[in-house]
């Protein structure tokens, strides 16, 4: 891991240079990715480090988002709370609501803890439409970013840098936190709360505090979100926001420090790209989650870290060769699967079926060819590619296993 500081430096440099490297739409996606990364890191502190799986983190994200919008309106981006400091309000409200919710939910552990967090978040979500002064009803609450400190905050670039600074500082703070006595106790809470109690620690207070700190960073992420879109609507309290952060964090690897951030950023990027290309992008997201959990249960980053720590012992060239062979075979299988899914989606779509008259099924254009749905060719093509890909990857795996056996 001796290259870690260098890698970090390069990443930060690229992030700083990003506005000059990519298009506006991509930069907008980058803002979303940063926010998702920070939100996932907040969740990762609670779930990965302290072992408490929250199903209701949208609540603290949402509370932070609304607090920031109200503060934007109240202060006009001046005085005590100039625009760049508005995320502090999100953090503070996150912290307070986290203390409150954490006090109740950390009285239980495991499934019961998860259920309480879910219930509290749903309670807020159900309540929000009725509290029009706070949550603004259907229309939500909107505001404007005002200039401060000589920065306009009107352009996307300004917003990007605001988000970048807050995200990096927050992740830095989370890293430092993990090194403090309280941060180490989070691990103890995850590993064996019972033992911690017998050592004389107050596990309920510890759990509450860690919950609150996690909620605080979720609140900062929420504030950045509402500052980015200059509005907040009670849809940010919906359960799919809570679910997304769970899935993202696990895909990245919830137990390695930057795992959740990378998971959050990657899946947001994935959503940004695929939601323009296909209607069933959520299905793909789900499939990715299931596959990662089945074959890489440590998550993408977790698995990478594990491989770097315990190399296969086959040398760099051979390992890279194996990885490449696997990736190519999997890409073939994935292409076959995507083809089948997309074709099915089109066949099953109401628009297409409205066009089916007297048993004539018109051709469907997919990947710049026209395919007849009643002929064998599209199905054979998709299934065939999928089968070939899986066969190839099985072959690669068998060879690796045979080599290992020969060594042993």
């Amino acid at each position: 891991m001796k290259y870690a500081p260098l890698l970090l430096l390069v990443t930060v440099a690229v992030l700083i240079a990003l506005p000059w490297l990519v298009s506006g739409s991509m930069l907008n996606a980058a803002v979303q990715m940063l926010i998702a990364a920070l939100f996932a890191m907040a969740f990762g502190l609670l779930c990965g480090q302290a072992g408490m799986l929250s199903f209701g983190h949208a609540a603290y994200f949402g509370v932070g988002a609304f607090a920031a919008v109200h503060a934007m309106n109240a202060f006009g981006g001046e005085g005590l709370l100039p625009t760049p400091l508005l995320p502090l309000v999100g953090g503070a409200t996150g912290l307070v609501s986290g203390l409150l919710a954490g006090y109740f939910s950390t009285k239980r552990t495991g499934v019961y803890f998860a259920m309480i967090t879910l219930a509290l978040a749903e309670l807020l979500h159900a309540l929000a439409p009725h509290l029009k002064t706070v949550f603004g009803g259907e229309a939500g609450v909107s505001s404007f970013r005002m200039p401060a400190w000589g920065i306009g905050f009107g352009s996307l670039n300004d917003v990007y840098f605001l988000t970048l600074v807050w995200t990096l500082v927050s992740i830095g703070l989370l890293y430092l936190f993990s090194k403090t006595p309280l941060g180490r106790l989070a691990l103890g809470l995850r590993e064996n709360a019972h033992r911690l109690r017998f050592l004389g620690y107050n596990t309920h207070a510890l759990g509450t505090l860690i919950f609150a700190i996690s909620a605080m960073f979720a609140g900062i992420a929420g504030a950045l979100q509402s500052m980015n879109i200059e509005a907040a609507n009670y849809v940010v309290l919906e359960s799919h926001i809570s679910t997304a952060v769970v899935l993202n964090s696990f895909i990245g690897g919830v137990r390695v420090f930057l795992g959740p951030a990378i998971g959050g950023a990657l899946m947001t990027f994935f959503g940004h790209v695929t939601s323009d290309l296909t209607r069933v992008w959520l299905l793909y997201q789900g499939i990715i989650f299931v596959l990662v959990m089945m074959f890489l249960p440590r998550g993408l980053v977790g698995e990478l870290v594990e491989r770097l720590r315990n190399p296969s012992g086959e040398g760099l060239a051979r390992t890279l060769g194996t990885v490449l062979a696997r990736l190519v075979s999997l890409a073939i299988a994935a292409f076959g699967a995507v083809f089948l899914i997309e074709f099915l989606q089109r066949v099953l779509s109401p628009e297409y079926r409205a066009g089916v008259t007297d048993g004539t099924w018109p051709d469907i254009a997919l990947f710049s060819y026209d395919w007849a749905p009643l002929s064998v060719s599209p199905w054979a093509f998709g299934l065939g590619l999928f089968g070939i890909g899986i066969a190839l990857v099985t072959m690669v795996n068998r060879r690796v296993a045979a080599r290992k056996e020969a060594q042993a």
């Binding site: 430092l176 936190f177 090194k179 403090t180 006595p181 309280l182 941060g183 180490r184 106790l185 691990l187 103890g188 995850r190 590993e191 064996n192 019972h194 033992r195 911690l196 109690r197 017998f198 050592l199 004389g200 620690y201 107050n202 207070a205 510890l206 505090l209 700190i213």
Partner: protein, 250 residues
Amino acid sequence: MSDPILSLQHVHKSFGEAHIIRDANLDVIPGERHAVIGPNGAGKSTLFHLCSGQFAPTEGKILLNGKNIAGLKPAEVNRRGLARSFQITNIFPGVTVFENLRLAVMRKHNLQFVFWRSAARLRLVNEEVDDLLTKIRLTDRAQTLASQLSYSEQRSLEIGMTLASDPQVILLDEPMAGMSHEETDYTAGLIREITEGRTLLIVEHDMSVVFSLAHRISVLVYGEIIATGTPEDIRGNARVKEAYLGEEAA
């Protein structure tokens, strides 16, 4: 005889209809190694749970340094100078041996809600952890994940964590359970070393360990302490033979 450091007075514990501990009386003298033996189901573990605060007694008093601790929570009992190990290995498996001990040591220094200092720079804490590592002979395993230790190493770690709060009284619940002969000898030596200057109350099934290690032995049968005395007294006690030792010899 000096005043007992730990004293059970007419302690009674029942779970509904089941009377597990019936009128137990026990005095543990400061500095002694005191063993509790008894057949399976006699209530030895329950007795430990009562002393360490996991259960509250239904009736009776438990005095630690003359103050009643009956009904106090485990954390409070620990703060008053009584620490225990568990029959089932009870460590933090997913973190390093060093971290296990550091978590245990930090409590003594009242480091709980501290998020403005680096744990790596707590000089005193880290020195104490190194000290403990030497005592339990795990120095070269410091950076190993606790889950990857051998069974007896895990038991040593468990004992190390019990020591971390620098308790006056240590309760060890079957520290040799499931160990080979070599491991048992090794652990017995370790216990002898680390209990120097402290008071030990131990539950153990291995009679050779009990009789060589303990200054005094109490025999618990069906929730009652039927005899307390030196190993020789206990060997010669007719009631004990009948209730327990004879049964085992047969």
